[in-house]
Symmetry: D2
Subunit: 377 residues, 4 copies
């Protein structure tokens, strides 16, 4: 089976997310790295793309050039990954979708809610795939959790509690480092800092595992380092459509937490816990029973959890392979087999609606605010 052709915009040398996409696209041998516009400095980007094996004529200087170059080819790329600075996601994703390309967009998909709605409409109109990289949802044991909830194995979900808290921006003496500062500057990051950066991963996962949508929320934001305009710590309480109570804490000043993304889901007949630092295990407790450790690769897992694991039990699979799972599902989708669970434009839109709702709530002292995008109300 011939490989699919893949192109990336952004993700240049030294970027944090670029390697994850290249590993994700290539690990399973499903995509050939065929085109790229990897850097805002045209020459640098072209040279880096060539170094990574992209043919010289498809190593582009910017996304506009790539769009122009690829749209006219018979062998155009099957998938474009957008991994540029956040504020450009909307424009690029829109342009490629409209030109008939399938797109995987990094989060956040857009900066504004109406932009998000526009992307949703364009994706529908063109019939093209518009996926958003909520890659944590593609860990095998996250899929197991989702499938267990869907199968009623913990009963109706009462409560979901999730945290995405790290301490990597906790050093005030490093706050002016440009790699840190932009995240708290509205000119670059938009209306929200830490919640938009990490919180929406946690919020997406709550919806993803529960199979439910956030309806309303109440937020408490704090900028614990005085020079920051945007929040570096946030607590968001929420309610989902089926009544589930939600609690989400996110922080970038939690010194000592490395990658503190975890989720706990409590239903009428059981509880589940998952932690991104030990992603190959899912902790399950049936009501009145003992806590059990469910291992990636054990017998009898739900289908999605099996499909998304490559090596045998207790051989850990990590973050890059979760990204690879997104690419596996994209390859299937491009070939016509759409997999349930691939995060798409509606997820990207819901996140943006939640970000704006949280900002509004935080400004209103925690007043409860509708978190749904207008088009989904």
């Amino acid at each position: 089976m011939a490989k699919l052709k893949w192109g990336m915009i952004g993700g240049g040398e030294g970027s944090q997310i670029g390697p994850a996409h290249r590993l994700g696209a290539q690990a399973d041998g499903l995509f050939e790295f065929t085109a790229g516009a990897l850097d805002h400095r045209a020459d640098v980007g072209r040279e880096y793309a060539r170094r990574l094996g992209v043919p010289a004529d498809r190593a582009y200087g910017d996304w506009q050039e790539m769009l122009a170059g690829e749209r006219t080819r018979d062998d155009r790329v099957d998938l474009v990954t957008v991994a540029t600075p956040n504020s450009t996601h909307f424009e690029i994703t829109k342009a490629f979708l409209e030109a008939g390309f399938n797109v995987l967009c990094e989060k956040p998909m857009t900066m504004q809610v109406d932009e998000g709605e526009e992307i949703v409409r364009i994706a529908e109109a063109t019939g093209k795939i518009c996926a958003v990289n909520y890659c944590y949802s593609a860990y095998p044991m996250v899929r197991q959790a989702r499938a267990m909830v869907a199968a009623g194995e913990i009963g109706k979900v009462r409560l979901v509690v999730t945290n995405f808290s790290h301490g990597h921006h906790g050093d005030a003496t490093d706050a002016d480092n440009p790699r840190v500062r932009w995240r708290y500057d509205p000119a670059m990051a938009g209306v929200s800092g830490q919640f938009a950066d990490c919180g929406i991963h946690a919020l997406h996962m709550a919806s993803f595992i529960c199979g439910d949508a956030v309806e309303k929320l109440s937020a408490d934001f704090a900028s614990t380092i005085a020079s920051r305009e945007l929040e570096d710590d946030a607590m968001v309480n929420f309610r989902m459509a089926r009544g589930t109570v939600g609690r989400l804490w996110t922080s970038s000043v939690a010194i000592g937490r490395q990658h503190g993304f975890d989720i706990q889901v409590f239903g009428e007949t059981g509880g589940l816990r998952w932690h991104s630092e030990q992603p190959n295990q899912l902790i399950y407790t049936p009501v009145g029973g003992r806590t059990q450790i469910i291992e990636k690769g054990e017998g009898g897992l739900h289908e999605d959890a099996q499909r998304m694991s490559r090596v045998s039990i207790a051989h850990p699979e990590g973050f890059p392979l979760a990204v690879a799972n997104i690419y596996c599902d994209l390859a299937d989708a491009i070939r016509g087999q759409v997999r349930d669970g691939l995060p798409d434009a509606s997820d990207g839109l819901r996140s943006m609606a939640a970000v704006h709702a949280a900002v509004a709530s935080a400004k209103a002292d925690g007043a409860w605010v509708d978190a749904r995008p207008p088009m989904f109300r």
Copy 2:
């Protein structure tokens, strides 16, 4: 050195907290179990007290009888522990204080804020000790955390995050079990369920470690089991006097969490974590440095942490010995050496003010409410 004489009210056979107090009072050989009114059934209580070694003439039928019996003796008990149902704590504590006894009261000290203020005034007026059993604060590594904060070892505290969440009331089919039901019935539990039961331990510890007081809060309460009038899950955001941001989650429906009491304290130059299920370790991360495991019993701990440990490093000391540490400090206090950190009536009062503030906030959709007792504003 002769032992001090100790009496207990409540804590009868089969009670949960009674054994902890008996172990706590006796473990270090500081108190002799001298008097007791252990059960609301007079005969049962007398018989049980005698079985536990209390002299027959000081095995009382009820607290009034014990008060009458003890107040006239020359060898009256040096300390009375009040471990009766919550709604009686105020009345009994007040009576014994006024009669000149030192009291250790189980939490909550009172049901009402004004009652709490009254106890504070009586304790001041009589000069007697009125301690409240926030026993988690007497774990050696909690003391180490407090001392590190006080010494500036993590800088100004920006953020404190604490949880006290278990799942032992998560079974709806067991919700009518009287041992569970009363906690969610206002007639017995007062204005709050889970927050008043467990949340105030976490809130006390936040104040204790930070050396700071809660000023205002915003609460989101949920009764996830429909038959419950009071909350079984609560999220409380708060702010402390020195500006620290606080986040507190407490739940009794978090199925699979056994004793999920933990606290994280994040300052300008470091972070600390402590978990009650592994109480002999404190996790410390200096900003920009590696996470370190501080062990109970290691060299160089702060004085309080050393004093409150009995056996050598890595020999675990658990909950009963934390209670015993409270009794050690009480013995010192009775003999005139008042130890910093012994939780007292002002702590009991602050808790009750916070409970009422949280209830008011939850009813007002999370509005921010002053959490200070009137007398401390």
Copy 3:
């Protein structure tokens, strides 16, 4: 019920094990600290005993004085704990047993195998209790493990693997510290260093949980710090009477391990794991099934595990309360209810036979040696 009268020999101020015995004897209110000869310096010991509440006339200058003083009293102590330097255990234990006292002896019970056999015979002849403080066996979850094995819940035991490895003697610059040095000096420690000090706890626990006896062993000893005559690291392979394969590693130079005592038991239909640093949990995996966490205090535990726990689930109970469980069983035994599982002189003897066998094996390059005491062959 009147308290039993308890006396201690050794365990003076600053000793490591003294506090554990005092807590153990007093925590449950079963024993009154009535007599003591606590220090080899007579005056120091008397003064310390009085400070701890021992009546002045029973604060003795040495064990001979205590023996003379107590044997003639009508109200003689019900139990004597021997916590003196190892080389004196035999002599003191023998003397008190022969005088009709019940004894709890610290390990090692003797230095020689024939001495051990003599103690066993004397205990039998006098009918007095001679217990040995293998206190780890009195943790509730160790009892649960033993009961599960006895009930066949993991099938025939194939394999037991246990470690007792710490790093507290790993600093060569501290090797001449008298508190460390004596353990590796044959003049004070006897034929074995680390194996006799810690290894025999692990070996006892293997026998205890499996309900089986060690038959033969092969040892590899190392003195990793050159100045040490005795071993600071040892590996012992063994076989038990019913064919179980055993593996035991013990070390005092394992820098970074604090209290690394753990045991794993693998049977035909399941496996168990327990770790002394988290003693309130037992990890159980049925063959072909998921790993489960068994919690101290959960419903349905075996009787011994229930009896030996004082406070509710997930409130940790630590080392001092394991020692207290030994004293609880001693109180019962003194009153005529002998509990299965109380470690006695035969355990002390088996340990000493194993120590001498291990030394012989290590000297013979790991040759397999009979580990049974002659009287049990």
Copy 4:
């Protein structure tokens, strides 16, 4: 930069190790899957290779056909991976090396010591790369451990303790399953079962991290399931050239352990611990100091540890990316930059010598046996 051309022998559909090699070779975009003889059933293997994207004319029916086909091409594959049944590794590796191919051989490289010596000589003579897939050595934090030891950060190494124990062959009712049985059948597995299968990974890692070679060993083997001719549990004590004491336990009947590969290294001034189930952390304790958690991706790691990590701190990287690190080093080596630490034929040879030594020792009741290959004595 053009991709290198890669071929694989074995690793057919459903094999355990095949996916790890494909992920490893492709993840970083360094190798193109160009040729393969994947299955002992020629048609099945050809079809599977084509499905995986191998050109039809290089999808071979067996290794002989592949050797014949590739050796005459100008664009012959740059690297051949040998992932066939163990007993064929020698023959295939020899043939490809002699034909001038670079080879990555699965472990064990050979079944006999003299075969191993032959491979070493051929590799030297041809100047071709002969790597052996001790892939655990390519985890970033294993490299960090090795570099710390080399830099003297824990002083002279006194002791190394390693385990590779799982329970996946612990079910006697599954012992006749062909996927399990062959490992304990000398006709297929050779002289050793579990030690040759898993133990040699642990033994390699001990040498790898310590930068030292095993000199002699003493083994205790057990077949805990009666029908097994070869051992399913083994303990091996060893000594290294610089005097380090070694202890290695390996088991396949340790029910409940999933992937229990861990290593502890204790030196004069510090200790290190690493566990394959949490491979992104290295636990370090300086003598007299606190235990520290070293995280993959943190600042200041040794060069190899940095180079072998792809995504930022606390984003876990797992087993497939450790294999990918082997392929990265192979790509560098093929292009002329030989990396220190790539496991090669001498490692494969040393393992086989250790296996035969352990078997001999076990048969001689644990007698100490020279574990070095004759050519390295």
